[in-house]
Subunit: 471 residues, 2 copies
């Protein structure tokens, strides 16, 4: 993965701040231009949220954070930038002015992504001498957690530009969805707009409140859409006859009055008051910061659930973790885990549940296995190590958000046996727990013990000799 | 919770089968009428999916399954039913005929819920002498996993009927959303219809494929909607200025061409072909059964993630688990855990990860704590037990879907110390693992050890004396 690269963020706020946070936490230097005197504070708040939540998505430590600097002019901010992200207010003349200034001062190879929700790339490119350098890269809030970014070009965008943008966005953890044909509001916001318009009608007509609408979504199809989206879900609904059957069955509803979207409600003061009052009644007991934290904790937990299943956004994160993984060094004792404790690991006592210590030490054993050559290919070939006994001593409490490390010694390694001693430490070096773990080499076919492959055994013996001598 | 109660399912298929499965797995007897000669097979398939997935949502065993019987007439099927669920095809004259027959033969106190997507309750009640007994109870696929059911009545529905229906639906795990004013397609399907219409346009116009649309949803706002829905999400987007600011900022988009929903696409053969072909390209490598399993595994993992956070559908499930929890008996050794291993507990070796054994034994210790009086109230008052050392022996592999039990002996209990010995067994009595666990009583305020409250210590000593004698 590229690190020590520079991004310029033109326009802070929630969206620009989210971009800044993602770049920084993935090891990029970030240079910000935003005329708002509050910009530094606002970006600082987004960054605090990102520093807390983003590392929890991964089971490895993120790269060292880049440097964040603030600049008084666009010309200064874009100096040395590989990527410039424009997130200024949605007014086309303003966007044209800002984009022209960026292009005039940024390095010749730098691309410019615009966070615009509504404008098409061809509109942004109007009047530019280098239209191919301007793309729409439309992210979703919270930008530091949600993988989706819509990557939209016009007929003036070259395949090379698309590819370069796609690679770079993937490096910092995004899932770039390439939109082939430009259209107002791109793709996702068109769905959001449709639902928004329908929701306005339901509230205006007194059919449902904001809270009821939220429950109608999150207790039902919201859960489907977090993992399969629309069409794969409906393919299943069609049953064995598939998609065609589904459409034939539900097609007639298109002619029925199942939505009011032939018409748009008048967003007058009365309707705004009604929505604001209902929203206060629903969520007013929580501050925006508390709501943000709740949202981020839920997103971390949902995304980690999908990671474990290897599905949807989880599959994407698993892939990205491989990109950011640091290679294990061969020191004695080995550093086998470096990670942040995620929010889904704590229990009613407010600390990391004892089961999660077991998982951390299981991950530490996996690191040792990879190091000795018992990696995924080895496992796919039908050989592995199973744990037969562990003893864990819990010495200090561990909390969500804590950075932890595990060092490991191979204290016995002969034949089928592999005995490990792990020490788990906090960021300040405090010892949180120790674990002694006996593993036995097995055949995954017979599920019985058997000797490891010769090269694996040799490596285990070598480590045992090195570490044993120092114990 | 009510058990040994009877539900009649009129009309099987995916929806009726889902209702049957939820009732059965929550301990109800289920009597099915469906003239389709394939009904028994079709319901059997839905039931197999439900038996696999639904128990994984809970951290306790479900009640014993009820009896499933098939009947040749509606009159026979509704005998003795407390609840009748109608899920026949969406044709109003057919619904009227079936509902009249149900009312004629069902016990006088039985309510009738209709799974209709499109008809209003007043339409279903037309011509009925007992309209108050007929309600819309509209569920979402998969009915055995998604909590949402829309509960809709008309002006002829009494508050008592609503309350009775609401309690009963809650007992079997649903989240009944009461819709106050009837409307075509109720609430959730209006949003689905809006998105569906917009999606048809995007495909017809070649803007996006079915796969791209699914990614645009599940990599972005689908994750938001699984936990907060629409309005709470937008409240955050409004920032510190809240909902009003958000509306004022995005209101103007209502006048922009951000959706094509002023018009409805013609669902002709060409468009149907296009969608079916794209869906085949996207998901055709998986059978419907495989897709269903993938969906259910993902839903289990997502719902369990929300349970852990105590949020949205997870908060609802936590509440429902309390309803179904069996009280712990006081036998020696104690049975401290009885549950199904969920899909999110396995690792690359295809079996339950060692960390999850730690979690099961942690749960077993929690059961003992509750039994001796160190329950949630005690913890809220600032006292608890922390684990200081565990030794686990792994004796047999454990797989997702397995029913497991843990029995526990208190082998030492004096002063601040509580030492437990756990044995984890499979459904056939095979010993899967043992764990010896030392806990120390602590003050949650000082985070240091201290003696338990007198009544708790007395109960711990009593158990230690009883169990110690038998060890």
């Amino acid at each position: 993965m590229q690190i020590q690269t520079t991004a310029a963020i033109i326009g802070g706020g929630v969206i620009g701040g989210g971009w800044a946070a993602r770049f920084l936490l993935m090891g990029w230097d970030v240079r910000v231009y935003d005329p708002d005197p509050e910009a530094e504070r606002k970006i600082g708040e987004v960054l605090a949220g990102a520093r807390r939540a983003l590392p929890m998505l991964y089971d490895v430590a993120l790269p060292p954070e880049g440097n964040l600097t603030f600049h008084d002019t666009i010309a200064d901010a874009v100096t040395g930038a590989t990527w410039v992200q424009e997130s200024v207010p949605e007014r086309l003349p303003l966007k044209h002015k800002v984009l022209a200034e960026i292009i005039a001062h940024a390095p010749a190879g730098a691309l410019v992504g615009s966070s615009t929700s509504g404008f098409k790339p061809s509109e942004l490119q109007e009047g530019s001498k280098t239209p191919d350098r301007i793309l729409v890269t439309h992210p979703f809030n919270p930008v530091y957690l949600l993988p989706l970014v819509e990557l939209v070009g016009s007929s003036k965008s070259s395949p090379e530009t698309f590819e370069k943008a796609q690679n770079l966005l993937t490096d910092i953890g995004f899932f770039p969805l390439r939109v082939e044909k430009e259209i107002d509001a791109h793709i996702a916001d068109r769905f959001l707009e449709a639902v928004w318009r329908e929701a306005l009608w339901l509230i205006k007509d007194g059919i449902a409140t904001t809270a009821q609408i939220d429950e109608a979504i999150r207790m039902g199809f919201g859960l489907r859409w977090a993992q399969m989206g629309l069409f794969e879900t409906y393919r299943i609904a069609g049953g064995e006859a598939g998609m065609r059957h589904f459409i034939e069955q539900f097609g007639p509803a298109l002619a029925w009055p199942w939505t009011k979207l032939m018409d748009v409600p008048d967003l007058d003061a009365a309707l705004i008051d009604k929505i604001a009052a209902q929203s206060d009644a629903q969520s007013g007991h929580l501050s925006i910061r508390e709501l943000e934290r709740l949202r981020d904790d839920n997103l971390v937990a949902l995304l980690r659930a999908l990671r474990q299943q290897g599905s949807a956004a989880g599959a994407h994160l698993n892939h990205h973790e491989k990109i950011i993984s640091q290679t294990l060094d061969n020191a004695s004792p080995l550093e086998t885990v470096a990670r942040t404790v995620p929010v889904d690991w704590t229990d009613y006592n407010g600390h990391m549940n004892e089961g999660r210590y077991g998982q951390v030490f299981s991950d530490a054993a996996d690191s040792v296995m990879r190091l000795v050559g018992a990696d995924q290919t080895y496992i796919d070939a039908g050989l592995s190590y199973f744990t037969v006994e562990t003893t864990i001593k819990y010495l200090a409490e561990t909390h969500a958000g804590a950075d932890i490390k595990v060092t490991t010694q191979v204290i016995e390694g002969a034949g089928k046996k592999l005995k490990l001693h792990h020490e788990m430490m906090g960021a300040d070096g405090t010892l949180h727990a120790t674990c002694t773990q006996m593993l036995i080499h097995v055949s995954l076919e017979t599920r019985r013990s058997c000797p490891p492959r010769a090269d694996v055994m040799e490596e285990v013996e070598r480590l045992a000799a090195t570490h044993g001598a120092k114990t």
